[in-house]
């Protein structure tokens, strides 16, 4: 079973990438599971249409069924967690992962994707890496400085757990939003930290339209070119066995990437 977790800055498009990629994998015949690790419990909405009862709520209500099947037979689960400003969401993630493991819910899956909340502010959110739930990490990022800064920070976490576990960085998925020099910046970043860009998701209105209908583009617009992008991404991720311990950049190195690329494009700050 392939076990991957997807990290990236909050709002960068992780859940969109994960749900579309999962849909593509399912349509290619794979048995897929998507586990949302976010108290907002919105990772699988594009696959299930309706909000999913979270694992933590199911445990509280003593319900046996912790998951449902979404589009293409994707097994969907949401960890859930407390309302904003209360409790400990990180602890909630750990509890949910333990429940999944104890019930052996993923035994029949070919691939499991953990979609983790953007800001890894405490140990709990690194549980998919630390608790050996996943061994491959993908970072979703744009070329914006703060997105890359966040991605770089997550690399530090990967390094920490790589020492004692099997978790490794397997690639970067670029969400192509507006900024100029996006590709070069992300490619250079990937090269410097020791990985590669495994997929580039173009800007496409169809992605947003599909989300408005609580669907993936694979479902809503299967013939649109962006659906092919996700199919290719799904295939690349499925066959990718590259794993590295990333080399996180210092702040100066990160800034140099921008200066270098902007200069090459005859731009200046």
């Amino acid at each position: 079973m392939k076990r991957i977790c997807v990290y990236g800055k909050g709002g960068i498009g992780k859940s969109t990438v994960v749900s579309n990629m999962a849909a593509a994998m399912a349509m290619q015949g794979l048995k897929v599971a998507v586990i949302g690790c976010d108290p907002k419990a919105d990772s699988t909405r594009n696959l299930t249409k309706e909000p999913v009862e979270t694992i933590l709520n199911c445990i509280l209500k003593k319900r046996e069924q912790l998951s449902i099947y979404g589009f293409g037979g994707v097994l969907c689960m949401e960890s859930g967690g407390p309302e904003p400003g209360t409790g400990c969401a990180g602890r909630g993630i750990v509890t949910a992962l333990n429940a999944i493991r104890d019930r052996n819910l993923l035994a029949d899956r070919d691939i499991v994707i953990f979609d983790v909340l953007g800001d890894v502010v405490c140990g709990g959110f690194s549980a998919p890496m630390r608790e050996k739930a996943a061994d491959q990490v993908y970072l979703v990022t744009t070329g914006d400085y703060m997105a890359m800064y966040a991605a770089n920070n997550i690399c530090k976490g990967i390094c920490r757990y790589a020492d004692t576990g099997e978790v490794r960085l397997s690639g970067i998925i670029q969400n192509c939003r507006s900024s100029l020099g996006d590709h070069e910046i992300v490619e250079e970043f990937a090269k410097q930290i020791g990985t590669k860009v495994i997929g580039k998701i173009p800007m496409a209105r169809e992605i947003s339209y599909a989300e408005m209908k609580h669907a993936t583009v694979l479902e809503a617009f299967p013939n649109h070119p962006v659906s092919d992008v996700f199919r290719n991404l799904a295939q690349n991720v499925w066959i990718n066995e590259e794993r590295t311990i990333p080399k996180p950049l210092g702040e100066e190195q990160l800034e140099k990437i921008y200066q270098h690329v902007l200069k090459e494009n005859s731009l200046s700050l």
Binding site: L56, L60, T86, G87, C88, R91
Partner: protein
């Protein structure tokens, strides 16, 4: 290396648990309740007014507000007590449960004070200080020109479960005689008594309670003095001297009486006391007790201090061996250490788990001094007689 010690929560408990008409409500996991109760039962199995929200995984994840509400509703339903000291432990402090909001919810029905006492923020002394200070919200303004009956003082520093604490408290009252009135103070008082702490001329702090004493000085003009615990005749003399200095009392008569009484009683063991001269002692106790004991043992028994450590620092076997102490003054936790080296262990400080005491047993005043000397001699005799013939 840090010493294994009680944490801030335990210190808060020590300061507050003896207050009548008040419930201690721990907002923490079961171990805090179990641990404090276990230590308390050793000394006072009858006065128990504590409860816990028993935080579990659910409260960690979703917050503990609901658990607190359930606990408070239970108090309202099943008890007549309306003052709650809500002691917040590690978990609730980590997840930042909004305890102030809950206090506001219940302020019309309960008198709730919140004490933030996570173990990761400090030890027993910090917990004691902060908890005692939290009682300042109950203080009533100092009466203006009205003179109260006699001179009044506060005394801070005793813990609910300190060995012989109740007896020591009564002994302090005896030592004051009729010239000075001892205000009922935490932990041996009621909530109503706490209101009256500002009606005092002076506060004496035996090691702990300085924060509340400073508060009383700053807000009510009540001066304070920090004193070592009043062991022995030297302790009594210092106490009387301070009262004479601040309150214009005269304890010369009491001084003479105490001296005569001690001479009379201790004459019975004089040969044994002689043999204690220049014996090496090690003492391991809280700051206030440490200095009081050292003074008593050196000045009055002629013993020699070779090792003195405050309780918040670790004490190693190597240090004890290197000191060549022949008697150890410490808590019950040092029993194995003492036994392994054949040292008499005189139990002082907190906790003392392997001795019981009544509400009149004391370690201070004339009676307490005699008891202390007897304990030193008897323990030494028991351990050493028959070994080398002579006592030392």
């Amino acid at each position: 290396m840090r010493k294994t010690d009680g944490c801030k929560l335990f210190g808060a408990y020590q300061a507050l648990a003896g207050i009548k008409d008040c419930i201690i409500l721990f907002h923490s996991v079961v171990g805090c309740h179990f641990g404090t109760l276990g230590l308390h039962l050793n000394h006072c199995p009858v006065e128990i007014h504590q409860a816990s929200t028993l935080m579990g995984n659910k409260e960690v994840i979703f917050g503990g507000a609901e658990a607190i509400r359930q606990a408070l509703e239970t108090v309202l339903r099943e008890s007549k007590i309306r003052t709650i000291c809500l002691i917040s432990g590690c978990i609730s402090e980590l997840i930042e449960d909004d305890l102030d909001a809950i206090c506001r919810e219940y302020e019309e029905r309960l008198r709730l004070i919140v004490i933030h006492a996570p173990g990761f923020e400090g030890g027993i002394t910090e917990g004691y200080e902060d908890a005692l200070l939290s009682l300042s919200c109950f203080l009533e303004p100092k009466l203006g020109t009205q003179k109260w009956d006699g001179r009044r003082i506060n005394v801070f520093g005793l813990g609910t479960d300190d060995y012989c604490a109740r007896g020591d408290w009564k002994q302090i009252q005896n030592l004051l005689g009729e010239q000075v009135i001892l205000n009922p103070c935490p932990p041996f008082c009621s909530v109503e008594d706490v209101k009256g702490l500002a009606q005092a001329d002076l506060t004496l702090v035996f090691g702990r309670g300085k924060k509340l004493a400073e508060y009383l000085q700053k807000n009510f003009g009540i001066l304070y003095e920090v004193l070592p615990y009043p062991y022995g005749f030297s302790g009594m003399k210092e106490l009387w001297k301070i009262l004479e200095q601040y309150l214009e009392c005269d304890y010369s008569g009491a001084r003479q009486e105490a001296e005569a009484a001690l001479k009379r009683e201790l004459l019975m063991f004089y040969p044994y006391m002689e043999s204690l001269y220049y014996s090496n002692f090690a003492v391991y106790a809280e700051d206030g007790r440490l200095n009081g004991l050292i003074r008593f043992l050196e000045e009055e028994l002629g013993m020699r201090k070779v090792l003195a450590k405050p309780l918040h620092e670790p004490l190693s076997m190597q240090e004890l061996d290197a000191s060549k102490a022949v008697i150890l003054f410490a808590t019950s936790y040092e029993r194995k250490m003492a036994r392994s080296r054949d040292l008499p262990l005189i139990r002082v400080g907190y906790p003392v788990l392997d001795r019981v005491c009544s509400s009149t047993d004391t370690m201070i005043g004339v009676g307490g001094t005699v008891t202390l000397v007897k304990e030193i001699i008897n323990q030494t005799l028991e351990l050493w007689s028959g070994k080398d013939g002579a006592l030392l």
